[in-house]
Every structure is written in structure tokens, then in C-alpha cells.
Symmetry: C2
Subunit: 216 residues, 2 copies
């Protein structure tokens, strides 16, 4: 019986095809932005729409598969920075810098991951599904960082909840500052990293009021 070997070969062929399709989709998204159409992606891959739909279900499926690749790559880079053997402050700065370097290196990828023109779920239900349409990458980063903080930092009672809050907060800080910085590039990356680390290190609390007007 040739069943198993034939099936095997077909499966690997399908996987290779899928990779090819994802690479074609990647090129189109990098060229046209997140609003790239399924037609354009199919054309780039040299095929027609229904095949794309057979492989990925719907547009959201394709975009999710596409996002997962980039997200995993960024996440492992961040994990490496987070695990470097050095002082806490240095590790924080290295992590911030890794993230900023990544979004600086390929802003199109970043834009796709963060603002995916979100129609991944047409969502007929209208409950309190707020954040679900937000970029899932941010959530994932926030959760990961929260876990790392909970594992390594002593925050007293209710440590775990505070660690999760901080994880999401710090990731949000990094993201918003990076997004703004990437737009009009008002300073060097080093300066941005240092300023954000200073913020996390409590310089806001320490700084004195400026003369004139009420203090902050």
C-alpha cells in the first residue's frame, strides 16, 4: 500500500505551497500596506483567489498566519534581550532598544502588525469585545512581559496582578512612544531609550516643580 507515503508527500507539498503563498502575501503587504487585497496577493503568487481561500479560510486567517511569523520573530528577539545577564536597568534598556530597532528596520511590517485594518472577525455579536480588534501583538507582548516580571521581581502581596498591569503598561508605553518617534523621528534611538528608562526609574516622582503656575 502506498497510502501513507503518498499522503505524506502530499502533505509536505501542501505545506510548501502554503509557505510560498505566505511569502507572496508578505511581499504584497510590504508593498501595498495592510489593505492589500486578496486579488493582489493571489496575483503575486501567480494563482487565483479561491486557492488562497482554501488555504487560509478567509482574509483574517491569512493575515493571522502572516502576523504570527513576524510576531514570533520579534518575540524571540525580545526574549533574548530580556534574558541577557546584566543589571536590571541595562536589560530594560536593551529590550526597549531591541523593539525600537525592529520597528525602525521595517516600518511596513510594524504597521501591518499594529494596524492590521482589522477585519479579522466581522463580529456579528456586539458585546464588550473591545480590545479584541486591537492588534493582538500588543496583548501578547504585554502578557509575556507581565509573566517575566511576576517571575523575577518581588512586588509584595498581589504581586501577580500588579506584574500583569505593569507588563501591559510598559509595553503600551514602548509602543506609543515608538509609534510617535517613528513618525517624525525627533531624536536618536539612544536618547529615546534612555528617556523611557528614566521614566520607568521614577524620575517623574523625583523631579522638582518648575517655577510659575501650579506644579505637576
Amino acid at each position: 500500500m502506498e497510502t501513507t507515503r503518498g499522503a505524506e508527500r502530499q502533505r509536505t507539498a501542501a505545506e510548501r505551497r502554503r509557505r510560498e503563498l505566505l511569502e507572496a502575501a508578505d511581499r504584497v503587504v510590504l508593498r501595498d500596506g495592510p489593505q492589500a487585497s486578496m486579488n493582489a496577493i493571489a496575483a503575486e503568487a501567480g494563482i487565483t483567489k479561491p486557492i488562497l481561500y482554501r488555504h487560509f479560510g478567509d482574509k483574517g486567517g491569512l493575515y493571522r498566519a502572516l502576523a504570527k511569523r513576524h510576531t514570533d520573530a520579534l518575540l524571540s528577539a525580545l526574549r533574548a534581550a530580556l534574558d541577557a545577564p546584566s543589571e536590571r536597568r541595562e536589560r530594560v534598556e536593551a529590550t526597549l532598544d531591541t523593539y525600537l530597532a525592529a520597528i525602525e528596520a521595517s516600518p511596513q511590517v510594524y504597521r501591518f502588525l499594529m494596524h492590521p485594518s482589522d477585519d479579522s472577525a466581522p463580529s456579528p455579536e456586539q458585546g464588550f469585545d473591545v480590545g479584541r480588534h486591537s492588534a493582538p501583538l500588543l496583548r501578547r507582548l504585554g502578557e509575556e512581559l507581565g509573566k517575566v516580571i511576576a517571575e523575577r521581581v518581588d512586588l509584595g502581596p498581589e504581586s501577580e496582578q500588579m506584574a500583569r498591569i505593569w507588563g501591559h503598561g510598559i509595553v503600551g508605553m514602548m509602543h506609543a512612544a515608538g509609534d510617535w518617534w517613528l513618525g517624525d523621528r525627533p531624536c536618536s534611538r539612544e536618547q529615546l531609550v534612555r528617556s523611557l528608562a528614566d521614566l520607568l526609574w521614577g524620575r517623574l516622582a523625583e523631579a522638582g516643580d518648575l517655577p510659575g503656575g501650579q506644579g505637576f
Copy 2:
């Protein structure tokens, strides 16, 4: 000559109409989410599409007008909290709480403002216009907060740039944490506010390492 009085009357009539249309759009967006169609909005207002287009140009124009109303409202609430006469820490907590209370009170509005299903600018150009597709509300909040910090806090040399960075960073922190919190509501608002303020007050730097594994 009746010219001026007639023109006046017509202008105010047009403005009233515009307000009515915006209110109808508001209802639909609150009901259907940010992907509400122009047809649905026109139907809610009791008219047909071309009138909508005559008033607002395109969908982006309508959404921008709609967003401005809510943004202005939120912004003035935040400014009030930021100007309250009390200690810096209290003011920071009040501001965080004001923001979180607002998004808690009407998550649909929040979702519209933050994830506007961004087609406000079809953007034929494909330069480094990254953040432009992000929610403009966050940028505006970040800039405002940066200004406030620069005015009131003494940060030494290069104070202004650091203040802007901090403004965007703090707003991003507030936003990401709020977005996550609104999703699965893992703790009370007070606790969230306190934890974020603690983060800004440098507790991350002060906290000790947890035993086992490398520190953070």
C-alpha cells in the same frame, strides 16, 4: 436686499442639519461599531447617501468630525483632572482615573476612537507615514501631556524633548493598560490606577529580585 439675512439663515440651517447628521451617525456607530456603513448612517438620519457625502466629503471626513466631538469632550475632562489643585501624585491618579472611567462608561465610543477601522486616508503614497493610520486621539493626548509636563516639571537640560517622550509614553501606558483591563476586567479601577501610578513612581527600580533564576 435680503442677501445677508437669507444667507445667514441658510448657513445656520446647514449647521443644524450637520449636527443632526452627526448625531444620527453617532447612534449608528454606537450600535454597529466602527464599521458602520454610510448607507446605514444615511438611513438612520432619514436621508440618502449623497447628502452625507455633500456634508462630509467622504467617510473619513464624517468619522473625523465624529471623532473630534468625543475627543474634545474627553480632552477637556482630562485637562480638568490635570489642573486640579493637589499633589502631583494625586493629580496623576486623578487623570488616570478620569481616562479609565471614560472608557469604562462607553466602551463603544472608546473603540470607535481607538480602532476606527482606519480608512480615513486611502493613502496612495506609501512613504514612512506609519503612525498616521494610528488613532489620532492618542497622538493628541500624548502631545498635550508632553506640553503640560514641559511646562510644569523641571527635567534639566533637553527638558522639552524628554517631556514629549514622556507624554507619549505615559499616554501609551494608560491606553494599553486600559484596553487590556476593559477586556477581561481583572481588577478594580482603583487598583489599576494605583498600580500604574506606582509604576510611574519608580517602584520597578526599587523592587528587589525574586529568588530563583536571574533577576529582572
